[in-house]
Symmetry: C2
Subunit: 416 residues, 2 copies
């Protein structure tokens, strides 16, 4: 057994080595110097036991705010991390968004994508939980605006106003969150966090809607009716807030919720509550973001806490960090804005099955695109004034579509 | 020499392995699928040479957006990172703000603090550049509000309103930034970023002041007068904006600037410009934050680009990431809000030299604190209605002050 047998206390905690003079942590803590509990000896810590600087050995039921998945210094993790093949990213700092490692897709498929939530086949990695939520919010804002604009690109006014933080380019969209929620402390996340004064005080925020989270009475079996009413009340308030914020000109682009509110007090709600909430989001055209940063990774008995809800379509975005040893978020296909490519050349993509068409900028462009695509080995057709039509056979497969898309992408990228 | 001799191209770029069908990067890129240049072979890359998935070997003058300090797979870095003693943080995920490793202060003193900017002896580490800037903004907001409130703690109204994103608890403070600036893409940072439409479009922002950055004419020797006028114009605009935003009820808590605007176009300004800007910040009670995420780490010829300005007091906060292989920010003592401790027991800290005093909540509390502190081995005095006075000898040293503070902190923490 790679572990100690029992706790062993030598001094009160914090012990002498954690009460040094001057206090060493004031060297490296900017905002809350009083939060340091004690200094730790991570080399001696093992499994479920944390050892502090004074040799006190404690059974750890907190694990760095729920971040240590399989205990301290697990041999399998030490082995994985001392394998030079796995260290290249730490040393070489690849900018994953422009120069990804060739084996990155494969590694993701083996690891993060092998545990992807139902309905999701894509994952964006991030350094921490806050960054994951921040970027998930941005994905929802972008998705919402593309939906609103349709196939046309942004207007000249949107493109100039966004550079100076003004609308319409920087729109007044909002994210709906819950009282007691905690989603991180960078400024976007913080606007959806409502846990403790010390997290919020003195930091500018956004005027976004905040719904009440159900306060269940225990034991649950004794308060079935009351709890159902409480949940219904909260869900009704969510809908009212969505309508109110739309009327205020700050429409809700997304709803964020934790399957169990952690920092806010371990507040639970029924599976039914979350399924209904997800449906409210869909009904009102909001994306639904489930924050599994603390609940994810197996701790609730299923890999993701939302699996307990028993639905095949739990969310549009699921964010994670902590036990997953990296941050990031899974997202549904619809949230990837690849439809916005080449808006100056193409618009009005439409179709049913493989009976598809897309408009070019004008008839000359349409004719040129068809010819250049033929030069590269793909036959297309035209119709109407400026449309390109697709009529592949009934034995046309997905890889044929990708062959076409690669070639067509080259044509579009080179077109002047 | 741990390196290749010369570039060696086998295919056009992107080559066949970077143009796979279906495109593998759509699995892991949420917001800008079109940005992937090509897939890389980081294991074969060495020194100044990046090797791609098709075996093309390129002299890399971009280094992952300026993030690779001493080349790919440098033996010294590989050695440091395969040392098990250095891996504990990756496996054990310490929450540094509450349970720091016992050797963390020492490691920081040896590493990050050994290259601290002039006037700074503290550093807060962060996972990336965006998080560093986000938290630096928060440090400036908190510092500004504590300055405003004086020694009294937050009001009941501030504490309740902040929980729901409202003023006064969430104040309308602002950060002044420059057109062409880039400070990251999470929502707070993004409000100070004005580089490209694709970074800004469709993301809600803050109404913060944005100043023009000097557009210098080259060659510099030929346009001395014009450039001096241009810089003076921009500095005047900075002051006008600070005054205007104060009148609007959104006072500027801090100014952020890069020593050379990178993403925005490699825009330079004279040392004189930055020194004057720093003085404008001081004059108007704003903190001054220099973003060295891209310019830091030696690339400009000095460790920090701001060292070229030749002043002993360049900034209040200096943020970093990229080449430093971790994110974070250095900060001046005044930005650490430890004066806010125990506001329910203490207030009105005042003094000159060691002739100091502090008020207790009332006379009974003052008397009790003095007695309890004496029980733990420190003698204090009282004066006035509810004050504690300090009158140490002229051979009283800093470590004596820390001895006292540790004991007094225990008394205050236990006091009911």
């Amino acid at each position: 057994e790679f572990e100690y047998d029992a706790p062993s206390m030598k001094t009160p905690v914090p012990g002498p080595k954690s009460k040094l003079s001057p206090p060493p942590h004031s060297l490296f803590i900017s905002q809350n110097v009083g939060a340091v509990n004690f200094f730790c000896n991570y080399e001696e810590s093992r499994g479920n036991y944390l050892v502090d600087a004074d040799g006190n050995r404690m059974l750890d039921l907190y694990t760095q705010i729920s971040s240590v998945p399989i205990g301290y210094n697990h041999p399998a993790l030490m082995k994985a991390i001392t394998n030079p093949n796995n260290l290249t990213a730490f040393v070489n700092r690849p900018a994953l968004g422009i120069l990804p490692p060739e084996n990155f897709p494969e590694k993701l498929i083996e690891s993060l994508l092998s545990v992807a939530p139902a309905g999701m086949t894509r994952v964006q990695t991030m350094a921490c939980g806050s960054c994951s939520n921040e970027n998930a919010f941005k994905a929802m804002f972008i998705w919402y605006k593309i939906k609103e604009r349709g196939a046309s690109g942004p207007s000249a006014e949107e493109m100039s106003s966004c550079m100076i933080n003004q609308g319409p380019g920087c729109p007044d969209l909002s994210i709906l969150s819950f009282m007691g929620g905690f989603h991180g402390r960078t400024m976007g996340c913080l606007a959806t966090t409502h846990s403790k004064v010390i997290h919020k005080l003195d930091i500018p925020s956004f005027d976004w809607p905040i719904a009440p989270f159900p306060k269940l009475q225990y034991p649950l079996e004794q308060f079935v009716r009351e709890n159902a009413q409480e949940e219904a009340r909260c869900l009704e308030e969510v809908e009212d807030l969505i309508v109110k914020w739309r009327q205020k000109g700050k429409p809700v682009a997304g709803i964020i919720v934790e399957p169990i509110q952690a920092e806010g007090g371990d507040n639970h709600a029924s599976h039914d509550f979350f399924i209904k909430l997800r449906n409210i989001a869909r009904k009102h055209g909001c994306a639904f973001h489930v924050d599994e940063v603390q609940t994810g990774g197996g701790t609730t008995g299923k890999f993701w806490a939302h699996e307990h809800w028993g639905t095949g379509d739990p969310a549009d975005i699921v964010s994670f960090s902590k036990k997953m040893l990296t941050g990031g978020y899974y997202f549904k296909d619809e949230l990837q804005p690849d439809k916005a490519q080449y808006p100056h050349l193409l618009s009005r993509a439409r179709g049913l099955g493989t009976f598809c068409a897309i408009d070019a900028r004008d008839d000359v462009t349409r004719d040129n695109l068809i010819l250049k695509t033929r030069d590269k080995g793909v036959l297309l057709g035209g119709c109407g004034e400026m449309s390109i039509r697709f009529r592949p056979s009934l034995v046309f497969k997905e890889y044929h579509a990708h062959q076409f898309l690669n070639i067509f992408n080259d044509v579009l990228a080179e077109y002047k």
